[in-house]
């Protein structure tokens, strides 16, 4: 004769799901939700279509503003609003980069530029992009980095 390990009982009589067991579960879920709401962001960071790209870290909590031209400087190339403009290897030694300048003139309806740069990009490269943006008439420039308190 086989012995049953779990004897079926009516649900109403089940004492397996106690209120005391559910309360910590609710607490844990609340904590998890608060943590996620604090650390997660609904805006996805732009990324280049090819190659590795990793933003530098910052402690700045200032949020991004809408309506900015996104200039992305990866190890391979410079992208403006998602379009590849020039390879980093072909950047001229001068401060003004003609290809970037011409492309930025087409986006003059926007007044703000956000520069997303790979963490390893040297300042010499970044400086040329920023100065070209300024020469194209953009006064509001900002560098975007990954908040160090995020995941």
């Amino acid at each position: 004769m086989r012995r049953r390990l779990f004897k079926p009982r009516p649900a109403a009589l089940s004492d397996g799901l106690d209120v005391g067991a559910l309360a910590p579960l609710v607490d844990m879920m609340t904590l998890l939700l608060v943590f996620l709401l604090r650390s997660y962001s609904t805006e996805a960071a732009p990324a280049p279509p090819e190659g590795r790209f990793e933003l530098a870290g910052t402690v700045s909590e200032e949020a991004r503003k809408n309506g900015a031209v996104v200039v992305l400087v990866s190890a391979e190339a410079v992208y403006i609003d998602g379009r590849r403009v020039i390879a980093v290897a072909y950047l001229p030694p001068e401060l003004l980069v003609r290809e970037v300048y011409d492309r930025l003139l087409l986006t003059r309806d926007k007044k703000r530029i956000e520069v997303h740069a790979d963490r390893a990009i040297p300042w010499g490269v970044l400086k040329r992009v920023l100065h070209t943006a300024r020469a194209a008439g953009f006064e509001e420039l900002s560098l975007v980095a990954a908040n160090t308190s995020s995941l």
């Binding site: 559910l22 609340t30 998890l32 709401l37 402690v59 400086k127």
Partner: protein, 171 residues
């Protein structure tokens, strides 16, 4: 007179809260799933920039004690240079004194803790000064530039020098 009681004293049968709690847990699971699918774990922070240019008009001199502050990064070594008014600031003719703090590299990297201490010292001299200039080396990585800018800016609640101008000189 027979008074009627609004609340009847007596033991009530304890309500079963388990369905309610299970409902809350289910709702939280759904919310959690929604959050994980629609959001990203990476939050972004923005650093506003000012770029100096030779064609810019010279800014008006700061009225406080510290006239200007410049942080220079050459390789991993930092230098803080600032100009302090050494005589009565209300006088018609005053003299200024330039002070320099050399902050050598620490374990091959810029000593950000020493930079913070130096900048706090300058800020204590003149808390009304908000501007600082930062001149990184061309070979400095974006990561280091942003880390130094974070230190110059100071903590979010009590910033040191929130208006950072990056060097505009070529080469």
């Amino acid at each position: 007179m027979n008074r009627r009681r609004f609340f009847r004293a007596g033991p009530d049968a304890e309500a079963d809260v388990r369905p309610t709690l299970l409902g809350v847990v289910t709702l939280m699971f759904l919310l959690l799933f929604f959050l994980l699918t629609t959001s990203s774990g990476q939050r972004l922070g923005v650093l506003d920039l000012r770029l100096g240019s030779p064609s810019d008009l010279a800014p008006l001199p700061h009225a406080g004690l510290v006239k200007d502050i410049a942080v220079t990064l050459r390789g991993p070594a930092l230098t803080v240079t600032y100009t302090v008014q050494s005589t009565d600031i209300a006088a018609a003719s005053t003299s200024v004194e330039q002070r320099v703090k050399e902050l050598p590299a620490r374990e091959g990297r810029p000593d950000l803790a020493a930079l913070l201490a130096a900048l706090e010292e300058v800020h204590d001299v003149d808390p009304s000064q908000e501007r600082a200039r930062f001149d990184p080396d061309d070979a400095t990585s974006a990561e280091t530039v942003i880390a130094v800018m974070d230190v110059i800016h100071g903590p979010q609640g009590s910033p040191l020098f929130p208006k950072i101008a990056l060097s505009g000189s070529a080469g």
